[in-house]
Amino acid sequence: MKARKRLIATAILTLSFGVSLRSALAQAQVNDKQHGTVIGNAIMYVSPDLNSAKVARPSRGRDTWLMGQSSIDGKEWAHIMVTMSQNTFSAPRTVTGWTDARLVITSATPNGDQIIFGEAVQAEHEADNGVKDADQEAMRLYYRIYEYFPDSPLAAESLWHAADYQWQLEKSGVFARPSAREISPDARQEIDEETMHKLIKKFPRTKWADLAAYDLLDNKICGSWKGETRCPEKEADLYEHYAHEHPQSPKAAEALYKAAWRQAALVDMYKGKERDKGEKAKRRAMDIAQEISAKYPEGDWKPRAAQLVFALQQGLEVTTESERQSGKQN
């Protein structure tokens, strides 16, 4: 309703300057659908002229506001304002300039959500092949879909991809620091949960919310076990609880396997010390492995559970000392 009122107001205002109703409505539509991003190697110029000074090179996924368009010699130019980040110490700045209109995708572009999504997948492939900053671009592209195409069928998945990228980037930094070698998760910096919580709130009871909840467990696991049995015990509980809370999650079987693996690690840790506790952990690991076989017969987790059961039955160690130290494997 608000949008419609704004469109009519813009149309009347434009008419008063002697422009036809049709172009006024078109202009109003541009104003209403002006946000988006760039999908290629865009270069911004001071004016719509290749010979004018270059202002910036906004990377894919940057938040872009389409302020106007101009056709010069049959070529389409877009007048855009882009939010650019500078460095760790400086706040983002906005840059205004002219660029190739073909590279600007807004919510008014037909199939705009799919075009940006395809570009994000492309950026992900580039990141996998070692292209610098392609992961950041993928993250931003996905976020723009959620931001500017909230009703798209791709919105939830896109927000998940963006949130997960941000999470994994931050996680690799947090777990690389010395504080991550402490037992308590409180000893290290918490990975920012805001976007994950936003996803769970906006798209509850979806597989994307389930995946977000799984990522959040990273903030609760021990940095290093340091031979302390309370760590695998606590982590096994966390993962088992997750699997039972989110039985439809694509990560449910993996969570159960992680719980079983930690119980099996406890068997190794109790070996030669507390036999009763070791036996209890072994039974628990076997029960959880059985649950995996029964509930998730498809995919890799059933064979992995069978392999874990075999290792327990034969008394084979399931972990190496370094794995027990880090507590991060499997």
């Binding site: 999908i39 290629g40 190697n41 270069i43 110029y45 290749l50 070529k75 389409e76 130019w77 660029t99 190739d100 209109a101 073909r102 590279l103 199939n111 799919q114 075009i115 940006i116 999504f117 395809g118 570009e119 997948v121 492309q122 791709l154 890799d300 059933k302 064979p303 992995r304 559970a305 069978a306 392999q307 874990l308 059961v309 075999f310 290792a311 034969q314 008394g315 084979l316 190496t320 494997q329 499997n330």
Partner: protein, 305 residues
């Protein structure tokens, strides 16, 4: 006459006996191979996960089970023949056809090794372990529901390892998947890997290579319409033809550029909007947009419209 017949029967039964005693197996933990069944005995070699074994004897020593096995060890060079090494292994990590859920155990260990290989700081040699373990599932349990997938995963790991280390690509393992499990999605995927051997590597700015690669991908797609790689093949063909169009445009061959452009569009439209194609559907939609807008796919990007 009777004596010779009896001797033949005895020999035949002995052969059956030795054949059944010689059980094939593999191992799911690396272990030393010893000259006699004791950890203190002379260590002959280390047997890695997924090594093919032939069990010759079994024995319990101090309540610990041991197996006498022969292992085939490849020569150091291609011309040096393989040799058999016989020795004793602790029996606990050895999995044979008589082990319950043996196929799943070996497959599970293979998956575990594959994950290790993908982890930063994962176990050294884990990718090779995974490759051997998967291969053993296909060899030891050919009737397992996991056999085809295992053989494919093993062949694919071998192929990817050769590609990443720029070693010559040996296609015999991928062809084994195709011949043993024809008309399966695993055979389709093996055939997709084989397209790699038809790729140029460096295009040198000329349209011949991407055009040839586009042909190879499209041929694959037409021959394997049910393949999980159909979308990837069509997209790869379309994007290469888009590149060919750019190359012809840059050399002012307008007709050829237009033809390649139209072919690329037609191919991309086969995949775009088809949810069954997953991510390839969206990548094709983006490609169509770029082709429609004449956004360059190859070379130095235009500095403006």
């Amino acid at each position: 006459m009777k004596v010779s017949l009896l001797a033949a029967i005895v020999t035949f039964l002995a052969l059956i006996g030795s054949a059944s005693a010689a059980e094939r197996a593999t191992i799911v933990r690396s272990s030393g191979l010893f000259a006699s069944p004791a950890q203190s005995a002379e260590k002959l070699m280390t047997v890695e996960r997924g090594t093919g074994l032939t069990i010759q004897d079994k024995r319990d020593v101090d309540n610990e089970p041991w197996v006498k096995v022969s292992v085939s060890v490849l020569g150091n060079t291609q011309n040096e023949p393989a040799r058999e090494v016989t020795g004793w292994l602790p029996a606990k990590p050895v999995v044979s056809a008589s082990t319950q859920n043996a196929d799943q155990i070996v497959y599970g260990e293979a998956v575990d090794s594959e994950r290790q290989a993908e982890q930063r700081g994962g176990r050294k040699g884990a990718a090779d372990d995974a490759m051997r373990l998967y291969y053993q599932v296909g060899q030891l349990f050919p009737n397992s529901p996991l056999a085809a997938e295992s053989l494919w995963r093993s062949a694919d790991i071998r192929w990817q390892l050769a590609r990443s280390s720029r070693k010559p690509l040996e296609d015999q393992y991928l062809r084994e998947v195709i011949s043993k499990f024809p008309n399966t999605k695993w055979a389709d995927q093996a055939a997709f890997d084989l397209v790699d051997s038809q790729l140029c590597g460096d295009w040198n700015g000329l349209p011949d290579c991407p055009a040839k690669e586009a042909e190879a991908y499209e041929r694959y797609a037409r021959e394997h319409p049910q393949s999980p790689k159909f979308g990837a093949a069509i997209f790869n063909a379309a994007s290469r033809l888009g590149t060919v169009a750019d190359m012809y445009r840059m050399s002012n061959q307008k007709e050829k550029a237009a033809a390649a452009h139209n072919q690329a569009m037609a191919l991309a439209k086969e995949v775009a909007g088809n949810a069954a194609m997953g991510e390839w559907s969206y990548r094709a939609t983006t490609l169509i947009y770029k082709l429609q807008q004449n956004i360059p796919l190859y070379g130095v990007p235009d500095e403006g419209p």
